[in-house]
Symmetry: C2
Amino acid sequence: MSNQIKPQTLKGFRDFLPKEEVKRQYVVDKIRKIFELYGFDPLETPALEYAQTLLGKYGEESDKLLYLFEDRGGRKIGLRYDQTVPLARVIAQYYYDLPHPFKRYQIQPVWRAENPQKGRFREFLQCDIDTIGVGGIYADTEIITCVMAVMKTLGFKKAKMLINDRSFFKNLMPKFVTAIDKLEKIGTEGVIEELIEKGMDKDQAKRFIISIDKSKPTPLISSISKILRKNGLNENEDFEFSPSLARGLDYYTSTIFELRTSEYKSGSLGGGGRYDNLIMKFFGRKIEAVGFSFGFDRLLEAMQELQLIPQKTTSVFVLVTVFSDYYLNESLDLATKLRTAGINTDIYLNIDLSKQLKYADKKGIPYVVIIGPDEIKKNVVKLKNMKTGEQKETTQEKLIEILRNK
Amino acid sequence: MSNQIKPQTLKGFRDFLPKEEVKRQYVVDKIRKIFELYGFDPLETPALEYAQTLLGKYGEESDKLLYLFEDRGGRKIGLRYDQTVPLARVIAQYYYDLPHPFKRYQIQPVWRAENPQKGRFREFLQCDIDTIGVGGIYADTEIITCVMAVMKTLGFKKAKMLINDRSFFKNLMPKFVTAIDKLEKIGTEGVIEELIEKGMDKDQAKRFIISIDKSKPTPLISSISKILRKNGLNENEDFEFSPSLARGLDYYTSTIFELRTSEYKSGSLGGGGRYDNLIMKFFGRKIEAVGFSFGFDRLLEAMQELQLIPQKTTSVFVLVTVFSDYYLNESLDLATKLRTAGINTDIYLNIDLSKQLKYADKKGIPYVVIIGPDEIKKNVVKLKNMKTGEQKETTQEKLIEILRNK
């Protein structure tokens, strides 16, 4: 066919087929539950924002990664780059309607025109919590405690939050901070090179890198550590002072943190910090703010590596087979009964039994119920465990009990 | 401040603040549960597609509403306009990896550059189910039955599915079908006018409109009705043959349906049908397909009008108050205990009790726990019901039991 369109996704964009999507939903549901347990409420913002809302907030390098367009009305618009700047806009836009402090979570995709490479995508999910309108340190420690509770719930044993005080770098131009943030990725030499390239004097660059390693926790970090210990977290196990931690984004002002786990080597699982001056850009008044963002893809990859996700590939629990058109009604009736009992039930609308079993197998449906003329005559059904191959006869009433208890 | 940016959303785009978002999540969770009960598995596709994937699938009028852009690499791209065309692409792209038949649900936003007006938005959520690779009528009836189960679960008493056979219009050019679809909106005279405007002869237009009203159910519709009755649905109550139903989109081939409820007058709550030729555009081979899409905003609006949504404005269940800095630890400890017990708990990180109660009230938190020096001395806490104002003393252990049972 000459008009056939090649079915393809854009580079850096992904489809999530059911076998992956059921795993993603499993993780999102767990994260959401813990966020709500800690008193964070859900918020959603649009995918598209005015370009001026997004530009000049993240830093020079990030601005280049924004998806910016012009719409049919000639408006300059852009796709959500993170969930923090839209939150800052929301706070300013609805300030007098919102409860204060404002604690919200947000789980939506963001878009960045990065060079696609292994594990880096142009569309990816972020899972954020932020507390707006509270200074001091309790909001910071609550966020860290909540994140560590998420990690525990997800099954991580060695998750650790690295913590630093961004004000240590406050006399440094943002472009230099961005360079320091790459310390782990490109090494001391690499960072010194980049600092020089960006205009820092060579000796100054070297001295600065050395000074970072020798720096002690600021009073802020000491206070945070104290509260975290009170919250049941162990220093150097669950959290740790990390003087070289810089975080790439421009808007951070004091506390910054980054989530790691020694069980998974591919870098950070998320990060955050305090950004007390960002909302001012929309509101003209200083509003204190602190938050954290999970990098969902890495979190998922780490969980898969560590086998922390149930090997479920479908949300279907049982397949009801169809023996022949003549017996279709019996199968439909049974499916209705199972669904009424709250059991996720599929029915294969065809009459070849081997095809039906293959379908169940390919999807990973754990149980198949066979109902044919023999079973109907005896008023029973056959329940097949697709993993073990085990098969047993039972009544329809008992079937529901058995499946409910699995 | 001269640099202050006006905090605003684009026309037709919306923020969902927590008090709305908790309601939206309530409805989405219910829909998702029923979709899974009927054996549909989750799928996600990217927000952005190649423009050629989207163009020429929906019809002339719809093509004009596509959000089309050029990315930095000069690729012509567009935002998801519905979830059916991306699904068709997915089927073609992964055909040999997917189980067949393929039953999936998808709950994601779509974008249409419509003229914003009351109840019509440029970004809105769709909730879809589709069954791919099954002809005949059982897939159609399963979809209708599943949708009616959703409506029942959401609390609708008078939901009705209008059903028609698109093949009745098969000799008509798509532009005429689009006109007929407006019968209810613009009336008989309006449709005749539009048909003439679009090139139909005046007499022919009149005769055609009259013929629609007199038409009888096709054999397809009769068969579907029979199965639906077997599935426990009542003709003329739960579903009804509607000869004037046309559906606006080009890709439908035979069965079409549209969801209404007499309790809510603002039109359709969703629609769908069979589109057996769409996947061919990507795959070069006919793959049968049928699906339904809920218009989430109208569904939500109808539910709000009919008071079918719990008046919850926060996911927080209890607020633990803080008496003073000195007693903060006791409050933090109690919050931890409540969270460990699975109770969504917020803590107000300030020490003015009246402010804390105002905060709970503004958010709509149902319970507040007061813990101060008197309570600590007596080893009790005070539990306040924010709705009734009722207050009672209890121990921390009993508190958890009481809250769990609410």
